[in-house]
Point group: C2
Chain length 348, copies 2
């Protein structure tokens, strides 16, 4: 279906509608159900992640997610803001592993801010921990200092089980790729990072076929611009992963192209484009739906055991881009729905 | 002077020696004193920041710093590692404001990973808070969870006075440039960032001539690659500033070119290249001394009231680069000392 309840805020409904069309065109016998989320859910149900939405997500085999974020909600207390919906889904469903691939599509070298030879060398996977770190650590909040000043504080923390779990997924991922894992931290300053580095190093003993390196996050941000081709698989914490994956996405042209998977320990997942809700272009048929369509492909592969159908979608997207079709984010004029049409046509 | 005690670890002594030569050539009547710091200080004095070094730095009008960091010290407990020297100097001397300019030198467009038209548009200043945030917040450390697991934790925190102080410097800096200030935070997730955003917004009332915007750090990391020309002055916290400034440096060619100033409330400062100790090329006459030479120029301007001499150094560096002279980091073959020679020759 394609009611107003799917996809969350801003361009979320626009792009999810196209992904649902593509999935439907493949005739896979999928059962769709939809539920409000984000600022939209706050308006219709009083909470960004209503209990019914969470229950439906918990029952589903996989979740296709659009975007949340709405400037009209900026004045709300934190617990009611749209972002809490995605943070809540990640936490409540135990989606600890976020996979964010970045690779240049053929024919898109001119869309990157990087020199073509630099952008063309990018083929990396960021494995980001998603349910820990300073995102969820407690205590956190506001208080007044002894001097009567307002103070804001958060707790960065990881325990060894959380680190080991994501590290193993990082090593497994690297093993299925080019066999190199780079763990990113700030161990020269942070205690949390020092434990991270220690545990990743311990887990490495189980993966003697994978070459492990460590890099400080400031250096990683620099190397991702200087020579991104050096990276195969990157494993890192929630905050550093947030920053580095957005940065990497831009190196390959447009954030409008990049999908992601957020997985639990059993392989159930939530699938969403990396981009945000872009409220300025919502409902205008201007958003690029390809990141969400590619997220749907990841869903078929990782959660629904439909790798062939996933590959068909990915091949269709590559063909459409190779044909020169471009949405506005890539300097073109093709609309959201027309891009969906092209992908469906290319499936055949 | 140019004994082994200056410049800290790795290439620190190599590059500081050249900066001292340039300053000496200008005949400004400066008094130099030197002291061990970093891993070198740990070896000769048992601590990365010996009391005598801290006392000398406290007495000095300004501090020229090379680099600290030494893989041989990785096994030491945190308090004895080289990085503690620079963190200790920042904290003990109250150097709360780190200025990191990034601009492409004429003739260096080909050295950037970015397309020439993208790199050429960069002219920004990052104002990074340097004595707070998760770098220094307490409590921090290791403990064992109720389940018997190792846990690492750090405290991210800012109070309103710390934020207001760096925000004012951000606004002042923007006022002296193109009048635009972008404050970078992660207010959609972090309590610390929410206070940051609130206080920066309050301080904006004092600077109605400066246009203030806010940006999430993940988006900023992306925009710094996509369209860095959009930024004038960026103000941000210690951790995000660490990441973004390294990233920005690479957009303009080489981290070997970028100086920094770390200032206290009275304008006293520590001046250092942004790059690290690069132990793999230490003592081989291969490091680029220009970032340190440009840091010395910032020192003359910001702490010693010698703006004319600072401008002379900067013009000399620009002329040397325009002449095509390149150290190894920029694909050239000129050595560290020969680069110092060229700058001194160009001063004339
Ligand atoms: C919307 C926000 C809470 C989220 C995050 O910071 O994780 C987003 O930036 C992302 O990367 O999915
Ligand atoms: C060496 C390290 C502690 C330092 C930092 O993180 O501040 C460095 O990366 C810098 O940016 O000056």
């Amino acid at each position: 279906g394609a009611g107003r309840d799917i996809g969350g805020d801003g361009i979320g409904p626009d792009v999810v509608a196209q992904a649902v069309r593509v999935l439907t065109a493949l005739d896979l016998g999928l059962d769709f159900a939809e539920a409000p989320v984000g600022g939209h859910a706050y308006r219709v149900a009083g909470h960004p992640l209503p209990p019914e939405t969470l229950a439906l997500a918990a029952r589903a085999d996989a979740i296709l997610f659009g975007a949340v974020g709405d400037p009209d909600c900026d004045g709300l207390e934190r617990q009611l803001r749209p972002e809490q919906a995605i943070l809540g889904l990640r936490r409540e469903l135990g989606l600890f592993a976020n996979l964010r691939p970045a690779r240049l599509f053929p024919g898109l070298a001119d869309a990157s801010a990087l020199r073509p030879e630099v952008a063309g060398a990018i083929d990396l996977m960021i494995v980001r921990e998603l349910t820990g770190d300073v995102y969820f650590g407690t205590p956190r909040g506001r208080r007044t200092t002894a001097d009567g000043l307002r103070e804001g504080f958060d707790t960065m923390r990881y325990d060894e089980a959380e680190i080991a779990r994501i590290a193993r997924l990082g090593f497994e991922t690297a093993r299925g790729r080019r066999g190199r894992l780079c763990s990113v931290d700030k161990a020269n300053v942070l205690e949390t990072s020092q434990l991270w580095r220690d545990v990743v190093t311990e887990i490495a003993a189980e993966y003697s076929d994978v070459a492990l390196t460590h890099m400080y996050v400031d250096n990683a941000a620099m190397q991702l611009v200087r020579a991104p081709g050096q990276f195969d698989t990157i494993v890192t914490g929630n905050l550093f992963g947030d920053i580095l994956s957005d940065q990497a996405s831009m190196c390959v042209g447009s954030i409008g192209l990049l999908p992601s998977a957020s997985l639990d320990a059993a392989g159930k997942g939530l699938y969403e484009p990396i981009h945000g809700s872009a409220p300025d272009i919502a409902g205008q048929d201007r958003a690029n739906p390809l990141a969400t369509i590619l997220s749907a492909a990841m869903m078929l592969r990782h959660s629904l055991g439909l790798a062939d159908a996933a590959a068909r979608i990915e091949a269709a997207v590559a063909a459409v881009l190779a044909s020169g079709a471009r949405t506005a984010d890539l300097g073109g004029t093709i609309g959201t729905a027309a891009m969906g049409d092209r992908v469906i046509a290319a499936l055949a």
